[in-house]
Symmetry: C2
Subunit: 150 residues, 2 copies
């Protein structure tokens, strides 16, 4: 018996994606197969939306990270209440256009803001610890840090 | 003096978007104009990401709403722990690929789940109140309801 060599050239992410079972469900066996098929079909769309959301959020955090560096470099305050108020009003209007609950859109923005604030102190502390105000740092560990409150 | 007639054909959303001031900031006047210009440039990208996120979330909720109707029609339980566990593991891996904090990705999914669960009962109650198990309803008021836990 020879063991097949493992394809180490395959990226980790491809392996991880293969581990995912899109049919995973606690309902298996207790649901009519046709209904389960319809459910799985809809869920495959949800999975596509979720992947898109994750990559989009990652990109948004990269951008707010740039704001974090800019604010740290020029010693600007992390909070900007007028900006935040304008953002919230805009997102609520866009949510109405999209038939999304405006209250949810505002909660979503606040959720993002809280995450950004959580990371802001790390950028600021990292920046001042290095004492190199003219050179942007690599930011804190984790990669998702940002100093823009939204 | 004659008052100009108001262009009532213009959609409300266009008016709302015009109300938005992308330069709104509490930092105005206290920041070097060149720095403010750079900040506004980055913020315009953040605004674009946020609009995309809002429309994407709206579409995701439309899809979970379909799951809500399906589950109400066939009297399926709202929760599906095996599905949820698979989703969380997948999103954490995708977050790593995207250089997004996996813990944040999981928090984000839980945030969405909590919103969906909040609306689920409305669909289920609405469905059973109508006593028409074969005809999907228009869903609850608000348009963002859904019964899929994620």
């Amino acid at each position: 018996m020879t063991e097949q060599p493992r394809d180490d050239a395959r990226p980790e992410s491809a392996e991880a994606e293969e581990d995912y079972d899109p049919t995973a469900s606690s309902l298996k066996g207790s649901v009519d197969p046709a209904v389960m098929q319809e459910l799985l079909s809809i869920r495959s769309s949800i999975d596509n939306f979720d992947a898109t959301l994750v990559f989009l959020l990652a990109e948004r955090f990269k951008v707010t990270q740039r704001v974090g560096w800019l604010k740290a470099k020029h010693h600007l305050p992390p909070a900007d209440p007028d900006r935040e108020a304008a953002q919230i009003a805009r997102l609520r209007r866009l949510a109405e256009d999209a038939q999304l609950d405006p209250a949810f859109a505002e909660k979503f923005l606040n959720f993002i803001i809280s995450e950004v604030i959580r990371h802001h102190q790390a950028i600021s502390q990292d920046h001042h610890a290095r004492q190199k105000p003219d050179a942007p740092t690599d930011g804190p560990a984790g990669g998702a840090a940002s100093a823009e409150q939204a």
